[in-house]
Amino acid sequence: MSALLRLHNVSKSFRGLSAVTSVSLAVEPGAIVALIGPNGAGKTTLFNLVAGALRPDSGEIHFNGARIDGLRPDQVCGAGIGRTFQIVKPFAGLSVLDNVVVGALKRATGVAEAKRHGANIIAQLGLRPKGDWPASALTLPDQKRLEVARALATRPKLLLLDEVMAGLRPTECDEMVALFREINRREGLTILLVEHVMRAIMALAHSVLVLHHGEVIAQDAPAQVVRNPSVLDCYLGEDTEL
């Protein structure tokens, strides 16, 4: 078991409607894996299963050598998985820095240390000038950055990114991609991302998993996936330009 994250036959249905069907996948340490697929394919459900927000009906999830399905979200975070939310959930009444400090406290011995760590993180995300702002005053792209900053502050081994590029301008998107590549290279952070922005996926992902109707229909390098006929058929479309 060399994979950092391994899903084995994981299924989840809601009131009989199958959202994720017998999905097996493995994410190697240090990899950047993108999860793509049409709306309703089960991407966010899969994230919630890994993050402990949902419990699988069947199957097993292993992380870093230990079984994590059935753990609470805070325990999954403790095990070393950080996540962002597709619909941002900032602590609106707290300052930008305090939002990140909450995350940093997970591995810090005290508030002073968490503040130092938090200040470093918001600087990396370009949020330092807005550190004192209430999080509610941030624009949506900045709130997406804050999601990432908070998750990074918990010092995860695996980062789950749920559509953090959506709504960013192309240049902002490229900056975010550069940041993730940098953290991945420097710290060996493993990343699993759900994304629709193909520009980001092509630049960032080492491999791409395609989910359709709750099942994995393809797994390949980005350049191959975009030529895969079944992927073009269900998701990207014939005339996708990249």
């Binding site: 993050a51 959930k89 609106a92 909450v102």
Partner: protein, 323 residues
């Protein structure tokens, strides 16, 4: 804390320390009431203002704390310094049961609030029929000579009670100030703002909400002990009434929920204005029963409409006290 706020706090502390040397007995009783409301407001605010859990049943902890210590004293002659531990233990167990029931089984928001009211009402009805502590007829403590201070049994002059309440209020303020700057304060506020996000950041929401409700209850229990020995009489209809719970929360709401100074400012404003109005009405010879409640209502209405964050945040900005 910014230096101006520190000076202001020091000045307030000094003023409160020397107050009994310059004030008459009426003013001391008024100040004691303000400190009592500031203290209970601080306790409620820890749970609502910090952790976002709305309790409308804090009279439960006030009453159980009061009855616990008073019954020990009345039946066995055990003084409040020992009795307060019973009061705290009883209130902590009640709060822990209520909290676990609600937080473990996903009773949140308005349903949680209804549960807090229900617990307080259960207690009111239960104590009405609890004859060992007097039932609805009330429990009365022997009134000792008012001029001799017996600090071990908390019998003594109004000035002694004033200083006891001052110590409690100062302690609660310090505790809340410490909480806000440390892990509990960050975690509680995170849970208040967005519980799901807090959990994703590694916070065990159940555990921290339990800590909030239990701490708040323990603090309120002490106010109950004070109440019992200060007033020397306890009636279930009075101490467990919803009006008592609302009295506790008015100060922080008017002063500013989630702030440190809010409960103190709110308690002072409410008490002084309501008392001033009562005096005025009496001086004018009018007969207006319930003028105090009327004034509370008007102030609450004005604050909710014009300063929904409470008076303190706006005042702090005006005085340049927020950093």
């Amino acid at each position: 804390m910014n230096p101006r706020a520190a000076y202001l706090l020091a000045a307030l502390g000094a003023l409160l320390l020397v107050l009994p040397f310059v004030a008459d007995s009426y003013l001391i009783s008024l100040a004691t009431l303000i400190l009592y409301l500031a203290y209970t407001g601080q306790a409620w605010n820890l749970m609502m203002g910090f952790a976002g859990q709305l309790s409308l049943g804090h009279a439960l902890y006030l009453g159980v704390g009061a009855y616990g210590a008073a019954a020990l004293y009345h039946h066995f002659g055990i003084g409040p310094w020992a009795g307060m531990w019973l009061a705290i233990a009883l209130c902590v167990s009640l709060a822990a049961s209520l909290g676990f029931l609600a937080f473990r089984y996903g009773i949140s928001g308005v349903y949680f609030t209804l549960l807090t009211i229900a617990f307080a009402e259960f207690a009111r009805i239960g104590f009405d029929h609890f004859n060992w502590v007097g039932g609805s007829g009330g429990l009365f403590l022997k009134v000792a000579q008012r001029d001799q201070i017996d600090i071990f049994n908390l019998r003594g002059t109004p000035v002694m009670f004033y200083y006891v309440m001052l110590a409690l209020a100062a302690g609660a303020f310090a505790l809340c100030a410490w909480c806000l700057q440390s892990r509990p304060g960050y975690y509680w506020r995170a849970i208040r703002e967005n519980e799901e996000a807090a959990e994703a950041l590694g916070i065990d929401a159940l555990r921290w909400k339990m800590l909030a409700i239990v701490s708040s209850a323990a603090m309120t229990a002490l106010a109950g002990v004070f109440w019992a020995f200060y007033y020397n009489n306890l009636f279930p209809e009075q101490i467990f009434s919803i009006g008592r719970s609302i009295e506790i929360i008015l100060g922080p709401i008017i002063g500013g929920i989630g702030t440190l100074a809010g409960p103190i400012l709110g308690a002072a404003l409410l008490t002084l204005i309501a008392d001033g109005a009562t005096e005025l009405v009496a001086a004018l010879g009018w007969d207006v029963p319930g003028v105090k409640q009327l004034i509370y209502g008007i102030i609450l209405f004005a604050v909710v409409v014009f300063l929904p964050q409470g008076i303190w945040p706006a005042l702090a900005r005006k005085l340049n006290l927020s950093k």
